[in-house]
Symmetry: C2
Subunit: 577 residues, 2 copies
């Protein structure tokens, strides 16, 4: 079975199935989405106008039995950053698209009529279904409707009210194997889906259960080696399964790098209430699950099932960055309150990092008080969901809030909020925030483990030396990982030694009968970054957009009392490869 | 008397009086402000942070007896556009600074304490006065307090509540000779003054009544010739004094270029209620004044005194662009209602173009209905003035409103709203909107009279041919005019023949004993534009920011049904000089 491109035109409500051009055959995931966006989308177009496109592409290894290969990329021009965006997600979509032989689903245009549609994708077909009954409904309602209409295994991607309203914090939610939600979180791609009047996309691969492998035996052997590297890495085998990503609360707080009270200080007084240890203990006490995978085949299991005091399901996919935003930055002490907000944000399909970051900043605008979880819940449930003026402001993200309220301590890059790692105290991540074409994004080049490592080759987080090279290496590696459908944590064993990389290359070759080498794959990673950068330059971004906010240059952050002291020339050296 | 630079440091609450560097001596007005901003302000700084500066500079001929020479420039990095900004104003400030021998007043830094100050400038002195009693007060209150505290002739520049709140539509208001207000209108420089915690600046030149002239006799002769050119031009001698700038309502509407209903169409059904003829008739009926100068020595008198139905003063400086924004774009038919709103905006110190443009766009966001003047007044009086979330949104300008509400038909360039001339139907002004370093601004290069002229050399408004060269010529000319303190309408006789230009050059030479020629002055105009462009490039703007909004490329505007069809290359040709 040869993979095909499914191309949907919303203007005409039509579709075409196309062969994959020769030069795109070796691409998957982010490599595919960024290449298509860069070659087909006018960089000067309005992100919510008819000339933007949504490009969904599973990774090269998605749909196979390889563990942790269930990530799907989505590319477009972002209405939040005005730059190219790749966002990726777990859930079931990557596997199902791959099994159906869909190399990518590309959505273009805007319908002539002001109606919302469901796209239903099956083998060689795309149906356009008017769904007036789903308008104004949120994600769980849509999910349940689709499961009822089709079956439990149907893949679902949907937007809720904020996406319909084209808020730039709206994400696209994706069904996970347990019928819960994961998200294409950052960059407001839910608003792009809303602009195209698509309420949900369903994909049914009922009769197609497997992807074809060119060499099943070689694949199996390589896959086994690869799995071993995950099992031998402390973070992926022990740290993440024990405490989830929330294990980072004590680590980052201990490093003095957990931005608190809107980046005024690097430690929070709330750590004991928010940390992964407390989270795990609470989950166990309430018969939840401390381990849970966001997609089939995940062996890291950094997600969890978090129940409320009565043992009823409250949320899952409860991430460190969300806990940081609401707990340290906005100051809510009560983990149950944050979990409730997290579940609400899932249902409403909004980026929990951007919304939490904005609410923490809103303290400076006088819109909420530090630590007021009730008010935060209320704003999300009654202002964002209903699109009141206050809801539009918070739903517009921190950069826009800052502009409306004349604020200066606004921690955004390319208008996207920084997450849970202060770049004055972990300088490597600052280089990533500044330089990644994505806007402030930790996943684009997560230097933190290498900055905080105890190994001899660690890069001192408080010094400038080595940070640019570190961020560059990790960003290239992440572009590689994001292209094969692997979870970002696969980056950890990749840094332990050559085994993981070699095994992954063998798997790709066994899947496609290709001749990839570690070097050619690395070159692909570099090409992806440069392709993204070139798009951004044509969209009007320059090196002046590769800067952290000015206040970080003159406001030291306790306890280390360090500032962001990279010169422009030092930052721009990043692109010298 | 040698002119000096008064440099104020708000961080230290201190000042210095400096000699003017040799290379800046030939500069005034915009030439001075843009040069200082470009050489002293970090282009990457936050516009509301400690590293932005406010540079006030009267024109080279301000304070002299030359007619229409009372304009004062203000430069800074704009919080609305993120680009360099020069805004200029009439009123009494230019003359008084000039007479005091102040080449420029430069304000730097932000105070350590959260208090508002008055700066009182006198010969060789700047006083810093805490003014808690003025905080939360609006412009007329501040103006009256200062007149009471000093005298009727004191120059006053102030901000009202929106400026204190650092809204990016806040302007800086300036006392005119009759104790009414004029404004440094565009680009949100009131927010910069608010960020520096300056409530008002007063300047007293009581004992200094005249500027010195190197050659009084030559000045007098040249001045007479110059005045004649104004008297011989139809617009400056007849058109503008008869109907004010509102004379343009019928002209632009007749040309099918008056953007109505948020740029959906080029004609308004409200023209008869809004036009200059109706305005003049109403004023006469109510014993107002159809002619009124914004500064001493104005002989064009395009301002007016507009009374209400009972003959009580309502507003003055009631401009065409304000009438367009509220009348055609937002659809208010009642001129009295618009006049009431105009007076309110004066008192609150907000840019009437940006606010009107935003309210017209707000119809698409569902925040107000087309034609609802009561609601518009209410939003300004009770939301903007009080800084409610809705007020922050409208006070944030059209570009930001568009981002929060996911709107695509948003007529901004560099985040600043287009005024009353649709660039699809008058293409020359489109080149100005696109290319001027100021953001969409008609005054930066007002091609309209040359596009709509009946002369043989007119540039057809609907065709592309000749527009780039026209806009370039007019922009260079305006940079020249803005540097000598002349009203922008002096540009009209400048295009009639060489007399006006030659007389102005003679006046400058007679004032300073300089050796300026028409050519060297034109070169200065070019240099100013290139200096501004260079600042913007360092601030992160590129040619991609020199673009009109994408919707104008695919939405034709009736009645001509033309689109904006310039290619990027054609627009970028502008800078080829």
């Amino acid at each position: 079975m040869t993979d095909k491109i499914y191309r949907v035109n919303m203007n005409e409500l039509s579709f075409k199935i196309e062969n994959v051009p020769e030069e795109w055959k070796g691409l998957g995931g982010r490599g595919f989405t960024s290449t298509v966006v860069a070659s087909e989308v006018d960089p000067e177009c309005h992100p919510l106008g008819p000339n933007n496109k949504l490009v969904f592409a599973p990774g090269l290894l998605s749909g196979t039995t390889a563990v942790n290969s269930g990530r799907n990329s989505l590319g477009a021009k972002s209405p939040l950053t005005g730059a190219i965006k790749e966002s990726n997600v777990g859930g079931t979509i990557a596997g199902i698209l791959s099994k159906l032989g869909v190399k990518a689903l590309i959505v273009e245009g805007i319908p002539k009529e002001d109606k919302f549609y469901q796209l239903h994708v099956t083998k060689n077909n795309v149906e356009f279904i008017e769904v007036p009954e789903l308008v104004g409904k949120d994600n769980y309602y849509v999910l349940d409707s689709m499961i009822e209409k089709y079956n439990k295994k149907v893949a679902v991607m949907s937007i809720a009210r904020p996406g319909e309203m084209k808020m730039v914090t709206a994400n696209i939610s994706v069904k996970d194997p347990q019928g819960k939600l994961r998200s294409f979180g950052r960059g407001g791609l839910g608003a792009v889906m809303g602009s195209k009047k698509i309420k949900c996309i369903t994909v049914d691969s009922e009769k197609y259960k497997e992807v074809t492998l060119a060499n099943p035996q070689k694949f199996k052997e390589a896959s086994k080696k690869y799995t071993n590297t995950l099992n031998n890495n402390y973070a992926t085998s022990t740290g993440l399964p024990s405490f989830g990503t929330a294990g980072s609360v004590n680590i980052i707080n201990g490093a003095g790098a957990l931005p608190s009270k809107n980046f005024l200080t690097g430690t929070t007084e709330n750590a004991e209430f928010l940390c992964g240890e407390t989270l795990a203990e609470t989950i166990k006490k309430r018969d939840g699950k401390t381990t849970h995978g966001c997609h089939a085949g995940c062996i890291i299991q950094c997600s969890q099932v978090y129940n409320d005091k009565n043992g009823e399901y409250l949320t899952s996919g409860f991430e460190f960055e969300t806990i940081w935003a609401f707990g340290a930055h906005l100051g809510i002490k009560d983990l149950d309150q944050i979990a409730k907000i997290d579940a609400l944000m899932d249902d409403l399909g909004i980026d929990s990092i951007e919304i939490g970051a904005t609410l923490g900043l809103a303290v400076e605008a006088g819109l909420i008080e530090y630590g007021d979880g009730e008010k935060a819940y209320d704003i999300i449930a009654n202002d964002i969901a209903l699109g009141t003026p206050l809801g539009r402001i918070i739903g517009g993200g921190a950069g826009n809030l800052g502009k409306l309220y004349g604020l200066v301590r606004v921690a955004v890059v390319k208008n996207q909020s920084m997450p849970a790692y202060d770049p004055r105290a972990i300088k490597g991540i600052g280089i990533t925030y500044a330089t990644t074409p994505m806007g402030a994004d930790h996943t684009a080049g997560f230097t933190v483990p290498f900055n905080l490592s105890k190994a001899d080759n660690r890069v001192d987080p408080l010094k400038k030396e080595g940070q640019v090279a570190l961020s560059r290496n990790v960003q290239i590696q992440m572009a590689m990982v994001d292209s094969i459908g692997m979870c970002s944590f696969v980056g950890r064993p990749m840094m332990d030694g050559p085994e993981c990389l070699l095994a992954l290359v063998d798997m790709i070759n066994a899947r496609f009968d290709s001749k990839l080498t570690v070097d050619s794959w690395k070159n692909l990673g570099k090409t992806i970054l440069k392709t993204e950068k070139a798009f951004n330059q044509k969209a009007g971004l320059t090196n002046a957009d590769d800067r952290l906010p000015e206040f970080m240059r003159y406001e030291p952050i306790p306890p280390h009392n360090t500032v962001w002291d990279f010169t422009s020339e030092e930052i721009d050296e990043f692109w010298n490869f």
